[in-house]
Symmetry: C2
Subunit: 350 residues, 2 copies
DNA sequence: TATTAGCACTCCCGGGGCTACAGTGCTAAC
DNA sequence: GTTAGCACTGTAGCCCCGGGAGTGCTAATA
């Protein structure tokens, strides 16, 4: 059943009750009964009436009762409906904003910024925060430098537009003199600075084709070295994680086996990166509730993500938080959103 | 009461029973009673006799009974006595050795070696493995390189004897021309290569004193830059941790609060580094049982460490494992020992 | 003197039964 | 459409009880 049909079946009053129920459950963590809901709802309706409504909501698959004489708790679809139609986002308070701004201002080093963003997320939400390390695909070459290490080994230093410095050691196979390297270096700096590392590779292959005709030794050497460097560019991405121990505080996750599985999955990284990659394409905040992520260790977790931009305004990566499905979406969604904006700004202002 | 006095009080037969009891407890994880001990001990003595012995051991503070009608479990002092006098170290089997050797051979990159050593430790012991990142104090300068980033910012690249490359960005304050930097770089490479980073700093300060009289511009610039670089050398050390989730499997650590505290302490790093620093001085394997570490989150853990050497045969760092006090010391101690040796070898053979 | 058998005692653990409680669905009345 | 009333159901906490494991003590034994 699609959300539209649910929307039609469940009328406005029912939706109000759903909202109140979910918010209460998020706050208290215990099944909500008809009597409590009747008190909390604002409308003066008796528990009996509420019971009818709740039966409808249960039929629609939005809430469920853990056992006969407990109240109701939201299902995955219930949460989904809630975040899609019913959330009342609460923007972060001025003190929190200030705290975040301060953490994300001072630094120039992008790695440090990333880490601070991650710990800011975990501190503000009391859950686990994670931030993807920017993909170098989107990064421009600012400077290239060759340092001879031994006869056939050369250290290549790439300074990139995000202020990062990458070191790679390549085996040249043949021997280069000091001046060979300086010339190659000058040639590359003159011709390739300002390009994306991503596209450089293909352009270098093109240029090598041309050179083959002109036969300029310097250019050829330079290109072959550069080709090797970019050939080694097999980084498969990474992310920074903070406050994972916060997750140990939630009793819906306190099953040690589940938790262990979850932590292992953080250490594994691969699957999570895959998940984050999918969020890069999305426009703004993206939410995966429970099994929606399609990633089994996250079955009783929710993941809220937002992409952030680098200094060129291109999407550089994704950040987000992981917590129990029963999290305070009203507050957490704006926090993730704002953090992504602040991080983007901080990366711009360097 | 010192161990010597205990040794005198507790006679050889008692010691045998202590050994059997501890080994049994480590294997089974449950309090050991007189009847079981009588069966396991090899000697044919009745449970009643054993009970007398056990009472003595309890008086000596080596074992304790959780409650009236349970068996006995070792105390901290019991374990201490065991590892000091009673362990029968079991060297790793040939298959395990082979596995370790293979993991620690191929790589040239010392960072990768460190990580492999750590995961080898955690896999072999089924506990958490950790390896200190080598301290750069003990490392020699192999090459220094300056790359101008902007008018007043210079990227300094230090290639060190362990094959690591360090990048540092310094604010020069005043402006340097390209050729200034090249000259400075040449001067430094000519005069300081092969020195310890640690001692370089003091020598540079001495040399600056001399220069002030001779007034050579190049030398002065070079020294002031180098002084700045080494001034920023405020790295406070770090370590790599693997398999921390293994610790979630032990039920003596399964108290979520304790465990959380322990994990937080791993993330904190500072205190643990302090602890590891103390192990650098020790000759060989070092063992902290329970509260012996003096670090409260480790109260129900044991830490087994061993120092490893860099390519010059100097102590570069420490590695080890963390697990519950009830760990298989017989096996784990040799594993830590061997891993340290293998890592030292691997670092030498590059 | 060292060892052992016997015995009374203590404590933990698990199951069964009981009660109090919370919340439900249904029915009938408003 | 809403509500009151009621019978029903599952849970959580509690006490109680018996079985089991292991002890310490004492007295007997080699």
């Amino acid at each position: 059943m699609s959300n539209e049909s649910i929307e039609n079946i469940v009328n406005e009053r029912s939706q109000h009750f759903l909202k109140v129920l979910i918010e209460r459950y998020i706050r208290e963590g215990q099944p909500v009964g008809s009597r409590t809901l009747s008190r909390d709802s604002g409308l003066s309706l008796s528990p009996a009436t509420i019971r009818n409504v709740m039966a409808d909501l249960e039929d629609a698959g939005l809430i469920i009762s853990p056992h006969t004489s407990a109240g109701r708790v939201p299902t995955i679809s219930g949460y989904r409906f809630f975040v899609d139609y019913l959330v009342s986002l609460i923007p972060p308070g001025e003190t929190e904003l200030e705290q975040m701004r301060q953490q994300l201002m001072g630094d120039v080093d992008s790695k440090a910024l990333i880490e601070k963003a991650s710990s800011a997320l975990s501190e503000l939400t009391h859950m686990a925060g994670l931030v993807m390390i920017p993909r170098h695909d989107y990064v421009l070459l600012k400077q290239i430098e060759f340092v001879p290490l031994s006869d056939t080994r050369v250290l290549v230093i790439l300074v990139t537009s995000d202020g990062e410095v990458q070191n790679r050691v390549i085996e040249t196979g043949r021997q280069f003199t000091q001046s060979d390297l300086v010339q190659a270096q000058n040639f590359l700096n003159a011709n390739y600075v300002g390009q994306k590392l991503e596209t450089m590779r293909t352009r270098i292959i093109e240029d090598m084709e041309k050179t083959r005709r002109q036969m300029d030794a310097v250019m050829e050497q330079a290109l072959s070295l550069a080709g090797q460097v970019l050939g080694t560019d097999r980084e498969e991405g990474d992310f920074v994680l903070s406050g994972q121990t916060n997750l140990m505080g939630f009793n819906e996750l306190s099953d040690l086996e589940r938790l262990r599985h979850l932590f292992d999955s953080f250490a594994e990284k691969r699957q999570i990166l895959h998940l984050l990659d999918r969020c890069m394409e999305a426009e703004g905040v993206q939410i995966f509730i429970g099994e929606e992520s399609g990633y089994e260790p996250f079955d009783s977790c929710s993941l809220i993500t937002a992409p952030y931009q680098n200094d060129d305004g291109e999407v550089a990566g994704v950040l987000g938080v992981v917590g129990p499905t029963r999290m305070d979406y009203n507050k957490v969604i704006p926090i993730v959103d704002v953090t992504a904006r602040l991080l983007s700004n901080a990366l711009k202002q360097r």
